[in-house]
Every structure is written in structure tokens, then in C-alpha cells.
Symmetry: D2
Subunit: 287 residues, 4 copies
């Protein structure tokens, strides 16, 4: 059910990640090895922050990533210090551009791998909880977009991790009220253009895989002959649903269960992720 | 903002209406003469009732009708006693299959030409009014689909015209509460497979055009040499946004303002259409 | 590199083959078990002969078969005594409707699973050999469509199997002249609406898989409790790249290497398939 | 039958031409005022030379330009000193990405507005004349792509205008041999990344419209208060099928009949365009 990549660091042409790695997203779109589905062919999307600043931009497509005729030229053209790419395997909602990730609001981008369990039974209640002033921005029909708008409703723009903890807590609370045992399964990639948040969590405690590239200095030391790695700076980080190569030990580190990474200028942070019960007062009819 | 056709009568290949008339929908998709927009190229859809009974079926496309490569073969294949075809000119929501008409619920099909004015300001409130048990069926983001689900909420399946009058009354009430002077503009085509309802109405009192073919006997008498017309039976009726030909006086009759037609086996009916204020008790948070 | 199915027999709704079998084409589009590629998501097509006679019709799509939003309704609507369905995994040429099988010429339909090896080096020479009066019908860029037009050039309409033997012989001859060791790999499904030709051949002698359903009487006797099988008549035949179920021994019979089946009213035939060297003189006035 | 724009000058975001002008290409896609067809909704394409050099890149789409959901972000992202944009109104060949302009070969881009008359009767003969070593690059089925490959065959890369004169002469010669009175109608935009060639010609002597922006100094003097114009340098040039605004006299200059412009660093040139009879000997070894 979807795979994604994110990059944070010195400006990089998107093709470096999408086309010039062994087990790239394009390869994963046909042959995912660690996902729930081996094929992720239900559209894709890329969101990036322009190298010269400003609001994030997107390219989203109905096509499988492997057969998109524009992607190669666009991925060569676009250089960005921060981007997210996502390939979709639908869990039931239609294949259409507005259902392709990343979702966008102002300077925020959002990608999701996973599912809100039995979303058809909780969709209306979750949508109702979205802040009415934000509601107009919802264009698709996915659980992922609803989760994004809940996070915005619960304060994503001022307290990103807290807001996601409240949004996920709310989803679990609504799910449990409907007798759903494990209401959510997710890895998330979220950014405001300055930080990249990568979160791994599931109600079940067995979340989709998520990896982050190791410290650049360590990687360079491990592979002194790899020219690509010698260009890595200590700020460069890649977050991936599946490692971009399997044969280079020491390059990828698994993100632990129920954990959030904050990738940012200077030292990154790793903190526990704990959903919290959120009051309905944050949203609903009174707005 | 869209054009549509509907047919009720002896089983007919869809191509007869779509391809074998002078000013067919395909022609209107490029050169609408009486619509607000001359181009209706934002996708299209056809819904039909199978000749041997059962639930209605649909073919919907992202493409302009004039360039769809499958339509000619499908329109030759499909014979139906009751079908609706719709070409879209979006008023802002994305071009995608789930936004193409007809919308479907059980045995009901629904097409709309027009607009709910300033829908972005009233969308959430209108969606909230949809019966929670129906909500799951909403897959797109258009004003038209919302209007259909409001009609279902207000009783379309048991009292079709009454339900539409209540739904439109509700839309006007919500619109007025938001300071919108003329909240709705519409022609509607609605069917349950047994009757075809064609409604023309707008808050402004200047509605989109709508025409119905005249009594077959009259048409045959007017054009004794027209072979196609000699096959018409008294039950066959065509409803159109724009006449399929302009050069045959007496064939098309304009549907009056604020009027509903009921096309059915036996005598058809024509009744006034008057929106009525509808209580929120039909819907909303208590469900 | 593609999978296909064909049906010959009493009129059948296409959904019976596409949706109501265990390992249907739709399932194979995601999880082919015997093909070269496990994913066949580069568009698809269906061609059928109308139940009331006349030229064949087609529905072709850019989408993967698994996510096409129209297919279910169309497959329920269309009943046909003879149809072919094909899912594509491109070997390099673009994903576009004109590259989706079946190809059509007059009353003929044609599907291909396999490849003309190194087609980019022989394409021009093969196209040049196509009869100039047929050339205009070529709309796409695939090896498969070129093979179809070569078969037409070499007499498909009057001597179907002989023409394909000459066309394949010509492809091998041109390939060998370019130093290509094994110029062709194929299973073909071809029909004129009266007979269904199924051919399995490759220059290498290790062809793509192909199966045909066994004699209906035998199948009914094997599975007396299977209601679906009790409706089979002795004329009904299904040809498939992969069995539609793996758990029913005795239902599917492999088509031998270098063999052509002729499925027709009355007794079917099975004959050897031997490409023959073909003179360029077949290929139009200018040569 | 299509409209196009081209830009040559200081690096410019593509959105400046596509979105920030009054009668932009997007507007022309719905309401062309000087074209043969008012609607140009059969796909579109943009080709550009990267600001930092290298081969040209493209974005091509099946959608009408007015409804493409990615174009706005891409047009804001891409800055280029030389680009061509084209909207298509098909004259019969399918709407598909490979039929969208610009066509590309190495460092060359090519757009065409017009038609090779009765192309279906001359297509094979024209294709045969394409150099066999170039043939592999033909992916679509349009007259325009064939014209481009003929120009390449006749020496576009070493003698651009001469090659086009020979290619057009050849098309006229083949056309006349088939009894076609006026074999070609065209405006062309061609570039190698260093120069932009704009050609207006038709066998009939009544060619599609083509305009070029006037000398920047003159424009600045005419409109001292227009901020956008004050940024124009003397090197900046825009070539358009239709003026981007109708209300600014002195800004656009019509390209005369049978004329080629060479827009380049330093003084531009304007020369007569005269097709010349071309020997088939140009067209590769086998002829």
C-alpha cells in the first residue's frame, strides 16, 4: 500500500534518487520487496521545495511511475534541497490525480504509506472533525488526505509532532468507538520546507518499514571508493520505505516502531511517537 | 457548464443519438450554441439501463467526447430503452472520472447542467446534511454530486420530485444564509429506470435551456418523408440541453421555467417545480 | 510481456472470463505466475464480435486492467460469442491506446504475447514490406501491430495459417540477415469472427505458455458438482496464456510448441506451425 | 489545427508566457481567434533548453492545456532561455503523447501548425524517404513528425533552412504526383538551442498566421509605464501564432508569407523561404 522516499540536503536533481539508484522508487513500483503489495502502480506524485524558496510544487500522475513519459525529463530538470516522492497502491479509492500524494497545504507537504482501517465506516465522522476553514482544501477521497487535514486541524502548522499525535489519537478513538481493533497503520513524511518529519507508527505495533540513511561521514568511511557517496555532506539525509540498495551494509538504518525523526539543519532528533486522545472541541460543528 | 441528453423509449443503440444527429452531443462538446461555454471538453459520461433489466451501467471518461477512441464502438454496442449522456465543462473542480456525470446510486442515475453558486463556501454545510448512511457513496468533489446526495437524503427514492424540491430548497436556504443571492442554476435529468424526470429551474428565474421532443405522431405527420422519424413510437422521448437539429420546426419544444417533466409509460406529465424549505432534521449531526 | 485470453462458443458476458474466475486476466495483470514479467500494467484491450453479427468492436485503455473504472460495467454489458482480451507489459514502445491489442482490420482481430527481437533494428525493413494499400491502417509503433500487417500482406484474409507462416518466416529471414539469432517469440490469437486461431511458436523453440480448455463433456464429467461447468457446451472453448484456475486438473491442456489450433464450429483442428521463407514479391508494387 | 509560441532571450519562467499574458496559449486552447479551429484541446507540449545547457527537455500531455493539473507548478519551476509551447487540434491522428509537439531529435526541437494535405495517401512514401538511420526515432503517426524527420533527412543539422526548403519541396513534389493541388500548409518553430527558426509558408500562398514581438527598445519606448516591458532586453523575442494581447499596437509584427526568421544572438535575420525540388538520393542508402 504505497512506498515513498524523501530527501533533505544540498540541492539535488530528483533523478538522482528516482533513476540513478539500484532499487529506486521506479523499481519498487514494479517490484516492492518489503511492502504489503508488490505492485505500486496506481499513480504517483512528487512534491518539492524550489531551490530559490517559496511554496512547494508538485507533479502528480495517474500513470504507474514506470511508464510515465514525462518523468525522466522533469526529474532531470528539477533540483531541490527537499523533496518527497510517493508511489500509490490504492486500498480502494479511485486512481486519480487528486488522490495522489503528496498532499499540499500552504508550505506543507504530506505523504502516507498505510491505511486508516475500515475508512468507509469512519470517513464522515473524521471529515466532520476537520476545521471548517480548512475543509475547502480537500479535493480527493482518500484516508491519507483526511489524516493530513486532521493533522492541520490539530495544529500541524504550530506544533507538528504534537498535532500528528493528536490526529492519530483521534483516529484511534473514533476507530475504537466503531469497534475497529487496530484503526491505523502508517509511515508519514511531512515537511514545511525547513524540516522533514518522518514518523513510523501503527495501532498494531507492527508498522510498515521505514529507513533513514546513516551519517554521511560514516557512509563515506565505509565506502571510500564510491564516488557518489563522497559527495554526501553531513546534512544530507534520505528517508525511504525500502532501502535503495540492499548490498551496502551500514548505509541504511531502520526507524524504530512508534518513533518520529526530525531531520533539520544541525543535529537531527529522534523522539518517541505516542498518539494522545484529542478533544473533539478542536473541530466539529461549533466552527 | 455542461450539456446533456436523455432518451426514453424503445431500445435504441446509443450511437443513434450521439453520432447520427446533426448537432449531436459530440458536436456540442466542441461548439455548444446555447450554453454558457462553447467548449464542453472536461470529460463526459453515459449511463444506461440494460435492455434486459437490472442496475444501470456507466461509461465515464476524462477525455473530451470528441476525441474518445472507444466511444464509437461502445455507442454502437449498447442498446438501451433509457439512457443519459453528459458532457462536462468544469466550473472549477478537477477533471476526473469520479466528477463525470451521471452519478449513480442503486437504480438511480443523475445528471446536472448548471452550478451551485459559490459552492466552496457552502460545500461543507451541504455535505454535512447528507444522510450519514449515504455519505460513503460520495467519491468526487462536485456541486452536482452533492446535490444528488441531498436529493437522496430528502427522499428521492420514494418521492422523487418532492425530494428534489426539498433538496433545492435546502441549497437555497443555505446559500441565502451565506449571502448568496442566486444559489442554484440547473437543469436535471434523473431516472430510476422506469421514469425519466427532467427539471428546469434556477434561483434567478433564467435557467439553462432544456428541450423535449414532441409527440411522435405529430413529428411523423410533419415529416412524412423522414425515415428515421417514421420509426418513432408514441412512447419515445428525447430530452436535450440543445436541439439535435435546428432546421426542423415543430420537433423540439422548450421546457418552461421552473417545470418538471415526468416521462413514463403512458401519458407524460408536466408539473410546476417549486423548491420548499426543508428542515435540517432530515440530516446532519444527529445521525 | 503480455497475457491474453480468448473465448469461442455460446454468447457469454465478458465478465464471466474477466471477473468471475480465480486467476483471471485482472489477477494476472498484477500477479502473472507464468509470464516473463509478473506485472502487466501497461494498458489493455478487449475485442469482440457482436452477438448480432457485423464488424468486431474494441475497448482499449491506457490504464492497468486492475484499476480501470469502466471495465466492470462494460464487461457485464457486452455478450459475445467470440472475444479476445489482452493485457500489456511493454517491451519499450509507449503506453498508449493505439499500442493496445487487439489490432483490427476489417473483420479481423489480432493479439500477440511475445516479441520481435531487436525490433528497433528491423522495424523499417518490416514496415516497408507491408502492402502499401494496407499501410495507412498502422497507427501505433509496436512489433505486434507490424506482425499483424505483415500477416495481412502475406494473405491472412484468404489463407490465415499460411499467411502467418509466411509472415513469421519473413520476420525470421530479416532478423537473421541482421544477425539476430532468435528473431521471434510469440503466442497469437487471431479471428475473423468465424474461427479462432491460436498459435504458439518461437525461433528458440521455447515459447510463451498457451493453454486451451478441454472438451466440455470431459470437464463436466470431471466436475459434476460445478454449476458453471454444467453450462458448457461442446462448442465452448477458452484459450489462455495462463490457466484461469490452477486447482482443477483436467480442465486445461497445454498447446504444444510450434502448433496452431483452429477452433471452429464442429471439430477443432490442431496442426503443426512451420514458418516458411517468403518472397518480398508479396509486399506490394514498389519493391 | 494547432497554435504555438516560442521564446528566445534571457532565462524566463515558462509561466510568464503561458499564464501571465492576456490571450495566452491556455486561453487560445479554448478560444483561438485566428486559427482554423476555435478549440485546440487535443493535447499539448512544451519543450525547453535547460538554463545550464544540455539537451532539450519536454513535458507533453494528453489533456487539454486548460485543464492540466500539473502545468501551473511546472511552468513556475522551469526557467529557460529558449522554449516552445504547442497546443494541438488534431486533423485526424489520435490524441496521444507521442503525437504531441514538440518533436525532439538530439538537440533539436520542432513544432508545426498546419497540415500535410491528404497525408493518408502520401504517408508511406514520405516515411520511406526518411533516412533509415533516423527511422527508429519516429514514435507517432502525425504528418508533423514525418515532416520533421524529412527535414532531418535533408540536412537540418548542418543547413537548417536549406533542409526545410528541400523537405517541403519534397512534400510538394510527392503531393503533386498524387494530384494534391496544395500539398502543405505550415508555420514551423525549430531550434537547436542556439537559434530559433520561425517559418511561414503554404503551397496555397495563404498561410496560418504568425507574429513576432518587435524590437524591445521600440516596445519600451511605446509603453514606458508597462513594468513587464521594461525588463525586456534587445535580445528577447517571442514568436506566436496569435498575439498574446490585441490591445497594444506596435508590439507584434506579422511574419510575411513565404518567409523565415532567424532569431539569434546579435542581429536577427529575415529571409525568403522557397521550397526546392529535392532528389530522393538524399534519403538513405537503400533508395
Amino acid at each position: 500500500m504505497c512506498r515513498w522516499n524523501a530527501y533533505f540536503g544540498q540541492p539535488l536533481a530528483i533523478e538522482e534518487l528516482l533513476f540513478k539508484t539500484k532499487h529506486s522508487l521506479i523499481d519498487q513500483s514494479l517490484h516492492s520487496t518489503r511492502g504489503v503489495e508488490t505492485t505500486n502502480g496506481d499513480g504517483f506524485g512528487i512534491g518539492w521545495y524550489p531551490a530559490d524558496g517559496g511554496a512547494p510544487r508538485r507533479y502528480r500522475s495517474l500513470n504507474p511511475m514506470w511508464s510515465d513519459q514525462n518523468l525522466q525529463d522533469l526529474a532531470a530538470e528539477i533540483r531541490s534541497p527537499l523533496f518527497l516522492a510517493h508511489i500509490r497502491a490504492t486500498t480502494g479509492t479511485p486512481v486519480q490525480q487528486v488522490n495522489s500524494h503528496p498532499f499540499k497545504h500552504g508550505k506543507w507537504l504530506f505523504v502516507h504509506n498505510g491505511v486508516i482501517t475500515d475508512f468507509h465506516t469512519t470517513r464522515r465522522e473524521l471529515l466532520l472533525a476537520v476545521d471548517p476553514t480548512l475543509f475547502e482544501g480537500i479535493h480527493g477521497s482518500t484516508d491519507s488526505e483526511t489524516l493530513f487535514y486532521l493533522a492541520l486541524t490539530f495544529g500541524l502548522e504550530t506544533d507538528p509532532l504534537g498535532a500528528v499525535e493528536r490526529a492519530v489519537g483521534f483516529v484511534e478513538q473514533v476507530g475504537h468507538a466503531h469497534g475497529i481493533e487496530h484503526p491505523i497503520q502508517m509511515t508519514l513524511g511531512i515537511s514545511d520546507g525547513e524540516r522533514l518529519y518522518a514518523i513510523r507508527y501503527s495501532s498494531l505495533g507492527q508498522s510498515r518499514t521505514l529507513y533513514v540513511s546513516c551519517d554521511a561521514a560514516a557512509v563515506r568511511a565505509l565506502y571510500p571508493d564510491n564516488a557518489r557517496f563522497q559527495h554526501l555532506t553531513d546534512e544530507d539525509r534520505i528517508v525511504v520505505s525500502e532501502p535503495l540498495n540492499e548490498d551496502l551494509p551500514g548505509v541504511w538504518q531502520e526507524v524504530p516502531e512508534a518513533t518520529a525523526l526530525i531531520i533539520q539543519p544541525g543535529a537531527d532528533e529522534q523522539v518517541p511517537f505516542s498518539p494522545v486522545a484529542a478533544s473533539l472541541a478542536h473541530a466539529g460543528p461549533s466552527h
